[in-house]
Point group: C2
Chain length 187, copies 2
Amino acid sequence: MQPRKQHLIDTALILFNQFGYHTTGIDLILAESGVSKATLYKHFRSKEALILAALQLRHEQVVSKLQAKIEDNKKNQETVDPVENVLFIFDDLNEWFNSDTFFGCNFINVSAEYADPAHPIKLFATKHKQVIVDIIAEQLATEDNHEVNKQKADQIGLLIEGAIVMAHTRGMKHAALIAKEMARHLL
Amino acid sequence: MQPRKQHLIDTALILFNQFGYHTTGIDLILAESGVSKATLYKHFRSKEALILAALQLRHEQVVSKLQAKIEDNKKNQETVDPVENVLFIFDDLNEWFNSDTFFGCNFINVSAEYADPAHPIKLFATKHKQVIVDIIAEQLATEDNHEVNKQKADQIGLLIEGAIVMAHTRGMKHAALIAKEMARHLL
DNA sequence: CTATAAGTGAACAGAACTGTTTACGTCAAG
DNA sequence: CTTGACGTAAACAGTTCTGTTCACTTATAG
């Protein structure tokens, strides 16, 4: 990956998340990144392609951080505890909400702006959410009863979404702690 | 309220919700409503004013439906049951998710598009969410301990947001039933 | 040294939007 | 029957966006 291209994606991801996908124009991304317009359109054939690349980056960030933490937990545990191996997610959310880089979830936000369920951008967001829940289900897996695991994973997923929206639209930075208590109660 | 003005607001609300706030241009609203541009700008000084009017309408719809159901429940109960007086919300959500007029929550969506917390549109969305939670807290009120009620109301609010996002971004129309089970468990 | 790939800057086209203005209908109430 | 509020149609101004093009520069590997 050429450095300019990567820099464009990095910059675009931040700006899209902070200001929205329609609101953020190409020119702002160019000004902020210091890249010329011709270069942008050499690497991406449209704004939509750049949005998808930014979402792809975010997806990889989230998934790899999640999996790294899971690996880490497994190393530091002699006995694997499926509950604790999921609850840490809410601590991560808590950190995120209280950072100065929290402007809501890219995928929830982009879903709001690209409403058509058949739109590639919306499809990507849907897929991302599904992947996260699948990873959670995997963590909750015990020897038996996969159906129950999937149900519990959906419940955790619902709590995550709820916490993000609560933190973003109501500004309640402690939403992750509320969700964590609820998750502990349910698991 | 003049009929044209009301018709503009009604049309705008539907289109904004279905297609998004930036995507939906003035011209689409005019074409769909059959009203002229001059008339629109006689009633609203800007697109933003029309958005706020549409959100106000939606706010009133949600609040009045909620309160009507609460009144109804109180009449049909000899003993007031705070839990059942809140759980019905998820049945309403379930109907909504399975209707053909579900395109996510107006206020969550508009929060995604207008990210600046000081923007009047975002402020309106924040206020709406707070009003809903306050109504729920009121329902959960017993003789003592208001602090606990507020906490439980926030939990219910979180479940509602989670269900909406789950239904909207992942297309899971049964999300309200999942949330209802979780709510019953928590209350 | 030179060929090639990558990038710049600036102008431009074309589309889409918001918002304004003007000249012209319609219709009910006094 | 006329006045005034309400509405229409259409052209227009002005801005903002995406996307294209082209002449020119820089960096680097062989």
